[in-house]
Symmetry: C3
């Protein structure tokens, strides 16, 4: 059995999978002398992050969003163009999203200062054009697959080629569900949750007693991935699960699940025994507040349509219900993890699973170099 | 046009009005090397502040109020006399306002310690009269125009002559509306909001597109004031506005509005072309909490009765509705300003209007010399 | 009269009772140079504290409780055995109380790590038995009189002999009411409230105007106690009070009430003129949060049954109502005391009653030697 046989040579480590060609071997866990607290590593801003669904931003309207505490206004002009600015008027710092979209510009609601898509101030109603004050910061902004992406870091590095491809979303052989919710935890808990399939115990009511077996893991400079197969320990497969993951083969299940963190995104793909991609999930976790203790999750879950026409459409409500239930259980548990961290003031994670150790190293290494300044939990406060 | 012509010699400054005789010229903006953050200047306690409406304090009852974090109990005895004490029993610091008014004294609800109007402890039921403990602080207290004023600073400086006169409130030719609400911001935002009439854009739905033109400004040791005329840019005058400000003359409006901060109070007066005072607003903003991030607004809005008897009374509900709408918009915007300050941890106001620069200097100079100790916004907190 | 006659030689002290043989005389109040703030003294952990009622913990279930900020899970196995562990999985610190009781062990809900009653980790489903990680802390745990007691301090000192005896609870001549509620204050306010019977003024609506007279006080190494008799100042005895305290003798009441803090517990006993124990209250206040600003109160109120069978049972609803009313008034006032302390940042209690001075010394001396680190109340926070 896996658990007994797969332990590597490190104390309470589970590994032993052969490192595939091309993958960088994971460094020994004891190498780092005092790794910084993963829950205080800010996400790296030099990536494209979805900050809203396209449908949330109507033409001629503005929408206030946040990235790691920075307020950003998304504007869609009457002609459909989308741009992103710092969401604070240069005058009195009130949010521009409370203002009025006026042609291809946005006008602050208070004294009417007006900014174009580059953030330049182009009008102060009571001031001459020749003396206009400085404007506000603009952010690179792209719309893709129903998501509005913003590049919050150094704009010189904002390469639209780096945006995700979303192949399954565009492919008519798949039906895609958009899912998302605010979750009150650091993004790292989300990555660890999805990648550690030993947490099937958490979903025992939705999925029955499943046991994950890891086939191997790979690590690159900016990614970690792991393959799993599953065995049903007892009971029958629930209907909801069959819809999402396909009918299992009972004790002889041949589907392989690959979970990958390709910084800062995460994917989960299931391929059937014949190699067909039957499920393709792309998901990311965008910190909202400066402490990065709340993230907004944006996920695209693509399911391959079965041979029978409309069968998937008919089953869709059940799939929605099933994914919502799973997501709720995951949200509750990661929020408990965050609460434990807040109460203890530090990360006391005692990891035994090598994939997750790799993942934690990756998230630490690829994150921003600063440290989230956590206030010690004060006595006298709830 | 004003905006083009009225710019003074300082970068992005709008001034150029001739300084009237007797007014102190505004110092150049660059003079102060590092002015302290206006939003951290405490209001000066050596003034009379209204802490309640008279109607809130019934005979034989006590009322707990606050000034800048200091709890104060207002007591009205059965004979109608009003006095103000520190709202903490000397024994266990529980609020005296939870106690019982007993003759001309107030008795703490817990163990029955009793204080007279001077704050002296005159009874502890289980202690001999000869061993009574010290009492609590008393505050100078005066009732005027339906307001209960308290002098929270040095009582030696509490001169009843310094109380506002409220001439229009007493004059039967005017009808007065009392208005007030809690607003979650530093008092300085309120002064700036009312004095900068370029913010008419905020009220465009209530007032239409009006443009203010400043005629001149005056600055004294303890005041700043500015005169405005208004022009309607487009559309017709709304009915509500006509009631409050009088019918405008369209493009040839001759009414002059004067907004004045006479520290710590503010007034807004409108005089018709013939010099009649048609509207007279007195308003002040009393900090409630120690951080002075919440103020209670007390305003007396007096409108001169028109020739037709009862016309104003009939129109009153509309006037109430109109002022409530305006006040709501103002409250929302100043609270957004405060939120921006809290999130940024400092004042980044980028002022271009000379009157407001003068006003900010005045508020800084007349405020208390201490600094409000703002806690840095903590990561890990909402 | 007591108040005049009973003053001792210290300024505004009320004492003068003869110290009984065997009691340690109270040290002069001025002896301690700068006593530490009583409201920042943590309760001493080396005692048995009730953390739940027995009925709250069903067989086969777990319950999350707290002691001074430490999360503790109480587990009752299917066989009825109760044990207490640190309520954080060793793996990811999520609460074990969200898990599953499995035979005589508890299994974490997330990845299924399993712990026995000693806190040892006995299973990680995906790990070999020979490499199991360390477990979690276990606490001594005892069930007595419908309460689940835990010893949160040094387990070597956990002597079950030190558990309270609860003689009246076990005695069929008494009927016992269990009462408790969360109260948002430091435990010391609760001890002072119950012991200072001069606070009858607070309950004047429930009890009428009663005057307490202290007959004498005793102080030992770990206790303070005081005897009272009561006189009705005016009016008649309310029915609710007669039920709890027995019918008073008007001006000639002979009942004696003894209030005792036997650290960390408190008792209130009333004995009739003939020496019969007519009322016996045992009560304690368990800090929930690290700041010890919230306590959970556990009380057992035993009333001696009168001669008439079922009379007490019939009257019970009235007794419940009466005690709830009294308790509500007490809760409100101690929470006001705590709020005053929080706002002032220090204890400004100005005590004049010698019993309470003794009690405060006792609570300071018997409390833990550390200091609760109170965050200064921040400006900019509510």
């Amino acid at each position: 059995m896996y658990a007994e046989s797969a332990l590597d040579r490190h104390p309470i480590d589970v590994s032993g999978e052969a490192a595939p060609a091309g993958a960088i071997p994971a460094p020994p866990a004891a190498a780092a002398p005092a790794p910084r607290d993963l829950r205080r590593v800010p996400i790296h801003p030099d990536h494209w992050y979805p900050l809203a669904w396209s449908r949330e931003l109507k033409a001629g309207r503005a929408l206030g969003v946040r990235f790691a505490g920075d307020p950003i206004v998304l504007v869609r002009t009457a002609t459909g163009k989308v741009f992103a600015l710092e969401d604070r008027c240069a005058h009195r710092q009130v949010p521009l999203h409370a203002g009025v979209v006026d042609g291809e510009s946005i006008r602050c609601c208070y004294h009417g200062w007006t900014y174009d898509c580059s953030g330049r101030c182009i009008d102060v109603p009571y001031l001459g054009k020749e003396r206009l004050p400085n404007g506000v910061r603009a952010y690179p902004c792209e719309e893709r697959a129903g998501l509005i992406f913003v590049f919050p870091g150094n704009p010189a590095l904002a390469d639209p080629q780096a945006l995700p491809a979303f192949a399954s979303v565009a492919d008519k052989q798949y039906k895609t569900r958009r899912l998302g919710r605010e979750v009150k935890c650091h993004y790292s808990f989300m990555h660890e949750n999805l990648m550690d399939m030993n947490h099937q115990f958490l979903h025992r009511k939705q999925m029955g007693m499943m046991r994950a077996r890891s086939l191997g893991r790979r690590r690159g400079e900016d990614f970690v991935e792991v393959d799993y197969v599953f065995e049903r320990e007892r009971g029958k497969q629930p209907v909801g699960e069959a819809l999402v993951f396909g009918k299992d083969g009972g004790q002889n299940n041949k589907d392989v699940m690959t979970v990958r963190t390709s910084y800062p995104y995460q994917t989960l793909q299931i391929r059937s025994g014949s190699g067909t991609l039957v499920m393709d999930l792309w998901i990311t976790y965008v910190p909202l507040d400066a402490a990065q203790r709340t993230n907004r999750t944006f996920g695209l879950l693509s399911i391959r349509r079965p041979g029978v026409p409309f069968a998937l459409d008919l089953a869709w409500p059940l799939l929605v219900w099933f994914t919502e239930r799973i997501f709720k259980e995951d949200r509750e548990i990661v929020e408990m993890e965050q609460a434990a961290h807040d109460s203890q003031g530090e990360d006391r994670n005692h990891e035994v699973f090598p994939v997750i150790k790799d993942l934690r190293d990756l998230l630490r290494e690829r994150g921003a170099r600063t440290v989230i300044p956590i206030q010690p939990v004060a006595a006298g406060q709830p």
